[in-house]
Symmetry: C2
Subunit: 463 residues, 2 copies
């Protein structure tokens, strides 16, 4: 394991009354054991097939990479159509491992097509996309676990139709490949019928745990990323998370600390990477943490309304936006810093003659961002605020693989501590049904009546 | 006023026990009066000079626009150097009013330089920027209210040095213009000495309330935005917010509802625009809300640790990430939806022959995103969750001006209800001092000792 987890500032010895006591960790050995066993004993079973995603063979990876290269060689743009778990994995990995201005680089520098992950149905966004891609030389990866996602199917219908008009039916089919549950669902069926290439998602891998399945790997292959190192990192983290000693298992320990904090009223979890390349890693975390742990009932059917609300922040940027609140506001949050020891570039602040900021000259931006991270950690700790730090030696395929796998294990352990179903999402059904009703889908007539019966009072509208 | 504010779903008649009663609004008339008076009576005074920012003359705007055009005509790239309040205004306005892929458009389509707002000191980000801009034809607007911001000064030193090497000293000066407090601060002094063009910020306009001062207007002028309409929108909102009837004043009413909710344990404020163009409007809100209201003490010096943590979300995208939690998790948040009636494009979902998603065909993405917004509102309301909706007829300079001014008034009123100092940020000082100490600035030797005395226990580190 390359990552380092420092939770000193979660403890009472560092932050005082709002901290956790060692005796609380030691006193919960039964809970640790039980959470550990629930996750590890069910590894690879039911909805826990995600634990197996990094275990694929090198030969399978080679095949994926060969396919990826075949697309990379001919595509000017590569577009992922997906939302939620089908988009956040690709987004955060591209953000971390591609150049921060990938699409603006000249072709010889970027060595891969322009990349777009379209995870919304804003019509202006679709129109904007069509302004910048040449559809005739663009390739589309349609990703939905269920094969039924309205947003993704809409995008698919629009773009497939355009492709057929631009290229003719036969050639159009070559520009689309789909990633969906093998053998099941509307997208699978249409792909079979139309003859699109299909990449399967194992049935026990849920959307938000799917980044290391074909959901992520196919896009990574197209963009030429180092999948083998990423999976090696994920396997190293899996091993660390299979250690039953809570003091040696980063995901088990930090899951416990978060759950304990949540139960003590800290209902907010801030994820604050100090690197632009890890900005959207916070979005990945926000999804997996919110959707997995935000649950109305526990496994016994008892109403619990659990859930810690994740909030994303970016260091140092949000020191000028959120840190005032973190330092002086309610004691209602845990801040997770993600630090980077070695950035991908070094930038000197030169000894320029301009008569300003002399104390900065001769240093590097690397020193400045690191000093600011440590200073913010110091200030929060001094103010008695719970925080812990995940440290990456550098941002690369291997450490990103570790980090992703860590988030998955941490979430699974947290759900186990809470005795909830980590892997379902019943709370989104009502909204989906209401959308079907509004859009006039057959079978939702009653829901439409219910929707129309909601009356708004004019007195509560200001215009 | 073009915006519409619908707070039906904050009320008990819509969401039941977790809602606010009309009698609570009516019973707080003294509080409304007092909050209103504090803000309005001090309009233009002390730290409330921001109320005057939209009141500048057309002639002043014309001058700004002429300057902007002179830069626009010769710049290939335009770079804003700033952080926090000096960056978030430009970022959110560009996001709303420029093409979503502005930098990727061919020059004849974008009609303005490529735009970068550099609000971090990640060395990789600086290196990436330098990979995509031609420094010889790039122009830099250095923005800091205090003129002392370490991050911005570092960027300035680096880039000015590069400009001088590339262009020579005289020509380099033409590529930099600064926006800072008139007559004060390190940046002002060096600008005078070097002969950079200076745009002033009135001393009573704080960073997070400065978007409609030169902090925003200069960048908007360079990019050719419609400043007059934006200021007209801001003035219309100012007028609406000067209405002393809480039932007719959108900022006063929603400030009260948020404060009341916060006092009832709803310590999270989610901002969820349903438009990619408004995505970073949520960041603007997150700063102004967090930094203004996150305060340890009230005006009487009493320890209060107030503050509602803002969380940003994007519709429909985050329905697949956060809405499970919003629906089923704790009753600890207020969700603000921002809806758009008329999007800037219409995209049909065609009656394609592909055998999938038939219920979507013949509709538009516009209908889908609107149905999803209303459905999410419906589902949250049905689950008893506090939410309200801000509706924009469309996203344009005028409505963006209204929205920005609304956020500023809402925040000011909320601070007045809470009896705190809305305009300071004492909580960030400790971190700044620690950074100075670590970077070796003179006078911070004691702080360095304090920093070095913090001991980490190895037993709380996992690696």
């Amino acid at each position: 394991m390359k990552l380092k987890f420092d939770y000193n500032n979660m403890m009472d010895c560092a932050i005082g009354a709002h901290g956790i006591k060692k005796s609380e960790i030691d006193g919960a050995m039964t809970a640790h054991q039980s959470a550990f066993t629930e996750v590890i004993a069910n590894s690879g079973k039911g909805w826990q097939e995600w634990t197996e995603t990094p275990m694929i063979s090198d030969a399978t990876v080679d095949e994926l990479c060969a396919f990826g290269k075949s697309i990379r060689d001919k595509a000017t743009s590569f577009v992922v159509l997906g939302i939620g778990g089908s988009a956040l994995g690709p987004i955060c990995v591209f953000n971390a491992l591609l150049h921060l201005h990938h699409n603006e680089l000249p072709k010889e520098m970027r060595k891969a097509p322009k990349i777009y992950v379209e995870d919304n149905v804003d019509p202006e966004r679709m129109a904007s996309l069509l302004d910048v891609i040449d559809i005739k030389t663009s390739y589309f990866n349609v990703i939905t676990k269920s094969g039924e996602t309205s947003e993704t199917l809409s995008q698919f219908i629009i773009l497939y139709n355009m492709l057929k008009k631009a290229l003719g039916e036969t050639a159009a089919k070559e520009h689309i490949f789909v990633t969906t549950t093998d053998g099941k669902g509307s997208l699978y069926n249409v792909a079979k019928k139309e003859g699109f290439k299909i990449f399967g998602i194992p049935s026990g891998v849920g959307g938000r745990f799917s980044v290391l399945s074909n959901v992520g790997l196919v896009p990574f292959a197209v963009m030429g990323l180092d999948i083998k190192s990423m999976l090696a990192g994920a396997r190293a983290m899996r091993k660390a998370c299979e250690n039953k000693d809570v003091y040696k298992n980063p995901a088990l320990m930090t899951a416990f600390l978060q759950v304990k904090s949540m139960q003590a009223g800290k209902n907010i979890s801030v994820m604050m990477p100090y690197a632009d390349g890890l900005r959207t890693m916070a979005d990945f975390y926000c999804q997996i943490w919110a959707e997995s742990l935000g649950k109305a009932v526990d496994k016994a059917g008892k109403t619990v309304n659990y859930g810690q609300t994740p909030a994303k922040s970016l260091g140092v940027t949000d020191q000028h936006s959120q840190v005032q609140l973190y330092t002086e506001g309610p004691y209602d949050k845990v801040v997770t810093f993600i630090g980077v020891e070695q950035y991908g570039a070094t930038v000197d602040i030169p000894n320029d003659s301009a008569d300003v900021g002399d104390f900065l000259k001769g240093h590097t931006l690397n020193e400045l961002i690191t000093a600011e991270r440590k200073s913010t950690e110091f200030a929060l700790t001094k103010a008695g605020r719970s925080n812990f730090t995940i440290l990456l030696p550098e941002v690369n395929a291997e450490t990103v693989g570790e980090l992703l796998m860590y988030f998955m294990y941490q979430t699974a352990f947290a759900g186990a501590y809470l005795n909830i179903d980590t892997f379902n999402q019943p709370g989104v059904e009502e909204g989906k049904k209401a959308t079907f009703a509004m859009i006039g889908r057959k079978g939702y007539e009653e829901k439409l009546k219910e929707l129309n019966s909601a009356v708004k009072k004019d007195e509560y509208i200001i215009c």
